[in-house]
Structure formats: C-alpha cells, structure tokens
C-alpha cells in the first residue's frame, strides 16, 4: 500500500507520439478523451485504488518573499521553459509495478484521430510517515 502521484506534464517531458494540440481535435475526440479520464478514475475508485485527482489551470504565477513590508515579487509563466503541469492524480496501490501499469493506462487516453496520445506521465512515490520499524 503505497501512494503515488501521477503527474500530467504538457511540457518538460519528451514529445508524445500523437502530439496534436487539443484545439485541433474534433469536439467528439475531446469528449472521448475527457470520458476516458472519467472512466479511468471511476474504475480506480471501484478497485479501491483512487485517492484524488484534479486538473490544473495553465496559468501559473511565481511568488517569492521579498523582504518585510514589501509585496512579494511576482512573475508570469515563462512560456519557453516552464514545465506545465496540466493535472494530477493520486493513487494508492499494492506495488510500484501496479503504479506503472496504471500510469501506462492513463497515458493511453484517446486524442486526435481517436488514437492514444501516448502522453508522458511522471510517477512519483509519496514520502510517507516513517514505518514503525526503524532499526
């Protein structure tokens, strides 16, 4: 029982093999894609492996502390280099192999031409509280 974060990168990962921007898809293809995500999450809930998932807006703002009494300095997204994270899902599975298997399935969501987009997903294990046994 270990939790993993499946991160959907729009940039920062290698280019998927079916890399067509979503606004060039047909409406039906978009609906099918969204439906696939819904079905995937619903299926994981049934298997008892779903923890949480959210889509993220593309707009990101960088904020940092900039001294007392002064407003934080903000900066817009750096379109050329910024790694855009489109969304995430947290799963709770029995093994690393299972996490990889599920990420692979999620990556098969249909895109342009009804073909899988082969999207890259980053799989990150959660750092948990320490187990009871430490010696």
């Amino acid at each position: 029982m270990a939790k993993y974060l499946l991160l959907k990168h729009y940039r920062g990962a290698p280019t998927p093999s079916n890399d067509v921007p979503m606004d060039r898809w047909t409406p039906q293809e978009i609906s099918d894609h969204v439906q696939y995500m819904h079905d995937f999450a619903a299926r994981l809930e049934k298997t008892g492996e779903f923890v949480d998932g959210q889509a993220l807006a593309p707009e990101g703002t960088f904020v940092r502390y900039d001294g007392k009494g002064r407003p934080p300095v903000t900066d817009g997204p750096f379109a050329e280099t910024k790694d855009l994270i489109a969304g995430w899902m947290v799963i709770d599975v029995d093994s690393y192999e299972r996490a990889i298997e599920l990420a692979g399935e999620l990556s098969a969501a249909p895109g342009a031409g009804g073909k899988p987009i082969h999207e890259w997903l980053e799989v990150r294990p959660f750092l948990t509280a320490p187990p009871t046994i430490t010696e």
């Binding site: 029982m1 809930e45 008892g48 492996e49 779903f50 923890v51 029995d94 750092l127 509280a129 187990p131």
Partner: protein, 390 residues
C-alpha cells in the same frame, strides 16, 4: 458506549452468522448494521448479554436483507428456504475469520482492509482515515474484498503464515486519524494467539510489543527521527517489553523457530540493553545469521552488516556490506554510517548526502541530510556533535 467491547465482539458475532449459513458478504453487512444500532440503543438500554443481543439483531438484519433481496428478484417462493438458526459456536471459530480475511486470493491492501473491518470491527470511515484514502475508495476496496472471498468455504483450513503477514502489514500501515493501526494489530494478534497455538503467532505478537514499546522515543515531538543510540530509554514501555520477552521465551522454548521469533529476539536484545553501549551485538549478529538462513532476505543481510559493524568493528561491517547489492534500500546509508565509525568522515559525508534522496520517508531523509550537514560543517564549527547512528 463501549467501543472497544463492540470491536471485540464483532468477529464472534460475524462467525455465528456465517456458521448459520449466511453468505460472508451479507453477514458482514448485517453485523455492521447491528453495530450501528447498538451504538444508538445501548447508551439508554444496555443489554445484559451484549453478544447475544448483537447476534439476534444481526441475524434479524440478515433475514430482512435476504427477504428484500429475494423480493426484489421476485423469488418470494424461496423464502421458506431461509437458513435455519444454528448453535452459536465457541470462540475459536474466530480463527476461520482470520483465515478468510487473509485469503490468498486477496491483494495485500484488500486483506488488510477486510481484516480491520471483519475481525477488527472498525468502521469503513475509521479504516479510510487510518490508511489516508477517501471513504468511498475504502468502501469499494472492502466490498470487492468481500465479493472475492464470498465463495470461499468457511470451514477450509487456512494458512497461518498468510494471516501473520497480513497482521504485520496492519502493524506497519501507519497511525494517523483516530485509530492507531499498530495498537489495533497488537489487539488482533493477541486475540489470535488466544485461539491458535503457534510459535510464530506468538513470535509476531512479541515482535509487535517490543517495537511498540519503544515507539514513543523513536521520533521527537516534531517528527524528527531519533537514532536508537540516542533514544531516551526511560520512555520505553517496560511493561510491554517484559510481556514481549516472556511471550518470546515461551515461543522459543517450543523449538520451532521462524522469522518473526528471530526478529523478536533481535528486538528483545535491543530492548534489554540498559544503555546503547551495553547492547549484546554478538548475539544480535547470531540472530541475524538465523534470520538470513530462514528468509534469505537481502534486508536481513544488510541489517546483519550493521550489527557486525558493532560487534566486530566497522571494517568487518564494510566487508560484509561489500558483498551485497548496492541498489538495496538503505545500502548507502549503512555505508555512510560504517565509514563514519571507521573515521573516514569525508566519505561518510558524501554517502550520507547520496543516501538522503533515496530514503522512502520524510523523517529518514531529513535525518540523513542532517547527518551529512553535521559532518560537512564539523570542521568549521568546532567539535562534532552526537548522533552517529543511522
């Protein structure tokens, strides 16, 4: 309202229903309904015989559900075939429930969830909180598990080793929310040892007690890891240690050694030492030899290298470590520790830093980072501080 009593009664009530012919999944639902009703009714009207009350109510719930089900499928004619009430059997039937909940057809997480629910009597919400997943997810996990074992005959003998493995998983699952799963695992294992005479069951109970006894001293209030050598031994639960040692000795006397007994023996040697310096590392190495023989586990070999480093010096530990696959979890951390003991502080600092990102939990990662930082800053800040152990 005695929550603990309800939880204790759950498995035997469930067993009675299944013995009377109820399907496991349906019986489990009925028992949960009865528990809910008990929580509502008992505070005003406590029963004289709580178990009898629960059996009666659960059986009624089961019959109601069966009737509703049958009606829904328009098969009223089969009502006459309701299972007949049978005798309420002795407590050791509970053992069958343990076997069922740890059935090999279940995945480990399902087995853990089902055990907590059916044997432990926890609610779905409590189990979900303890495992940090949504209640809906846990509800599905449990109902799938119930469906998986639904066709399994209740009187088939099960595999004790599987049951023990599941209980050990529960013990290690964590402790957040209202329910402390380590304490729950101890309660269930204690209950198991009351109905089964098995040295490894006793070994597991001893192991859990010995680890649990030292839990409070393992972390600072802020959650930072405290190495064994620096733990405040005054905070160890001596009653739990004494009980663990007694149970272990009785198990060892049976001369049927298994991995849990061997691990418990190692834990007992740690718990027995009045100070870290007085730890009997020579005997610990011998127990690790047994553990390696029994399990052939790489983790046991790694821990043996640490113990050997204490018993025969860091060079001996490093030599043992060199024979092991360096991709093993904690291999780098152990190497860092042994190099530090050997006086090679530069190598130790480098290895601590390399080990930190490989740690699987936050407290361990922070600890290793702190160790690297301590060695890296020791030269500029004067004398090195304590905290040598991995």
């Amino acid at each position: 309202m005695d929550d603990a009593l309800l939880r204790t009664l759950t498995p035997s009530v469930l067993t009675v229903l299944v013995r009377r012919g109820a399907d496991f999944a349906a019986a489990e639902d009925a028992v949960q309904d009865a528990l809910t009703e008990a929580v509502r009714v008992w505070p005003d009207d406590p029963p004289r015989d709580p178990k009898g009350w629960l059996v009666t109510v659960a059986w009624r719930k089961f019959l109601d559900a069966t009737r509703a089900d049958v009606a829904r499928r328009r098969r009223e004619d089969r009502l006459g075939q309701e299972p007949q009430p049978g005798p309420a059997d002795a407590a050791d039937d509970t053992l069958q429930l343990y076997f069922l909940c740890a059935h090999p057809s279940l995945t480990p997480s399902s087995a853990v969830a089902l055990t907590l629910r059916a044997v432990g009597g926890l609610t779905t919400r409590q189990i979900a909180q303890a495992c940090l997943v949504p209640e809906a997810t846990m509800a599905q996990r449990i109902s799938r598990a119930k469906r998986t074992v639904s066709g399994v005959r209740f009187d088939q003998p099960g595999d004790v080793a599987t049951v023990l493995r599941v209980l050990y998983l529960v013990f290690n699952e964590g402790y957040s929310g209202d329910i402390d799963l380590a304490a729950e695992a101890i309660r269930l294992t204690r209950q198991l040892t009351a109905v089964i005479d098995h040295p490894e069951a006793a070994g597991l109970l001893a192991l859990m007690l010995l680890h649990h006894a030292r839990r409070a001293s393992r972390l600072t209030p802020e959650g930072a890891l405290v190495p064994l050598a620096e733990q405040d031994r005054g905070r160890w639960d001596t009653a739990a240690i004494a009980e663990g040692v007694t149970i272990l000795q009785a198990a060892l006397a049976r001369d049927r050694l298994g991995e849990f007994q061997a691990q418990a023996a190692i834990a007992a040697l740690h718990a027995d030492a009045p100070t870290a310096e007085e730890t009997d590392w020579v005997q610990i190495v011998e127990w690790y030899d047994e553990l390696v023989r029994l399990t052939d586990s790489p983790v046991a070999r790694l821990n043996r290298a640490v113990a050997l480093g204490e018993a025969d010096g860091p060079r001996a530990g490093l030599a043992a470590l060199a024979a092991l696959d360096d991709s093993l979890p904690r291999h780098t951390a152990v190497a860092a520790y042994l190099h530090e003991r050997d006086g090679d502080l530069a190598t130790a600092a480098r290895l601590y830093a390399a080990a930190a990102p490989k740690a699987s939990n936050l407290a361990e990662r922070d600890h290793l980072t702190r160790q690297a930082a301590r060695l890296n800053t020791a030269g500029s800040k004067g004398e090195p501080r304590g905290g040598r152990r991995v």
